[in-house]
Point group: C2
Chain length 192, copies 2
DNA sequence: ACCTGAACACCGTTCAAGT
DNA sequence: ACCTGAACACCGTTCAAGT
């Protein structure tokens, strides 16, 4: 089988899922496809557009879902959180396309709930920015914790006193996310 | 004068201000200091800790300011927005230290306004995530617009029909930021 | 049309060896 | 103690040349 834009983005996506964004390099991608690095540039104009394409594909399932704003925002977090370091990716894709799912349906949904057009579009932008910031923060915290864990591994082996707790940081992160959504998506009449 | 952690972070900061984050590499930094790249690692353990140190220094002025939450968050945006691509930097520094200014004083301020401790800490986390997401988004949009501008330069020269407008995207971005702050920092009694 | 080989101009980090 | 030189293992991108 020969190369194609679709095959390249699909392979990039699989690398992202398996190893995280830092391991999605053009050279690694080429190796995975059994091809010279330069070959990719016959099908894809740059790494940046390739990655935003990948982001769009990962979020594509959200286009088919008919759920309310809150649920869609929760799904966004579920989809992206496991992809290591993908926060930057999302931030870039959103800057390039402010209609990135789930932002593509939020304004219409909020309008249907009685929001004005100006309020609906401002709130969509605000809630997306909050979500992207929150997801990137959570991913960074996980990475940093993982580094610290491996660094402390030996000391922990010699000192198994404290039990492994339920990762209160992760639980807290989810509460923060829920809280932000609740406040930002609250009906405007409640604030007037 | 010889190398020191302080001199290195100060030079990194000046590179960041002058050229943006992509131009702050250890090798570029070494060249700027007239030293071999390896020399930096005698004073600094990694690029990551160096950059978070730089972020802390850039935000240090906020530690001295005695302003309300909203003003501090606006100052945060003013400080970071001009530093090209520094959003990632901020996201990393905040993940490493959730008490990064202005987060270090927000909980106490909110408590003084009658918020409960739980509400104050959750709101601080939410508003910081929103701000970091918003700043990163704005910086990315600027970068992408700049790329497009240089690409369209020639066509624009030949076609000077439309006047250069007031950059409505930037104005809109500020409104979104103000709106997010207003909603997230609204007194909890107004939502109960 | 599609791809290779090779190059250009970079990265972060380590480490023996020098002073 | 502090730094150099050189290496290791990478980057994104371009482009003549091949098929």
């Amino acid at each position: 089988m020969s190369l194609s834009p679709a095959l390249i983005t699909e392979t990039a996506r699989s690398l992202l899922i398996r190893y995280g964004l830092p391991d999605v390099s053009m050279r690694r991608l080429a190796k995975e496809l059994g091809v010279a690095p330069g070959a990719l540039y016959y099908h894809v104009s740059s790494k940046q557009v390739l990655l935003t394409q990948v982001a769009q594909e990962i979020l594509a399932p959200l286009r088919a879902e008919a759920a309310d704003a809150r649920t869609l925002m929760l799904r966004l977090r579920e989809l992206m959180l496991p992809l290591r370091d993908s926060g930057d990716l999302l931030l870039l894709a959103y800057a390039l396309d402010p209609r990135l799912p789930p932002a593509h349906v939020l304004p219409a949904q909020l309008r249907a709930q009685g929001w004005s057009e100006a309020e609906a579009s401002r709130t969509t932008a605000a809630v997306m920015r909050f979500a992207l910031g929150a997801i990137a923060t959570e991913q960074n915290q996980r990475l940093l914790d993982a580094e610290q864990d491996t660094a402390v591994q030996n000391t922990a082996d010699q000192n198994p006193g404290e039990a492994a707790d339920e990762d209160p940081l992760a639980v807290e992160a989810e509460q923060i996310y829920l809280h932000g959504l609740e406040v930002l998506l609250a009906r405007p009449s409640l604030r007037a």
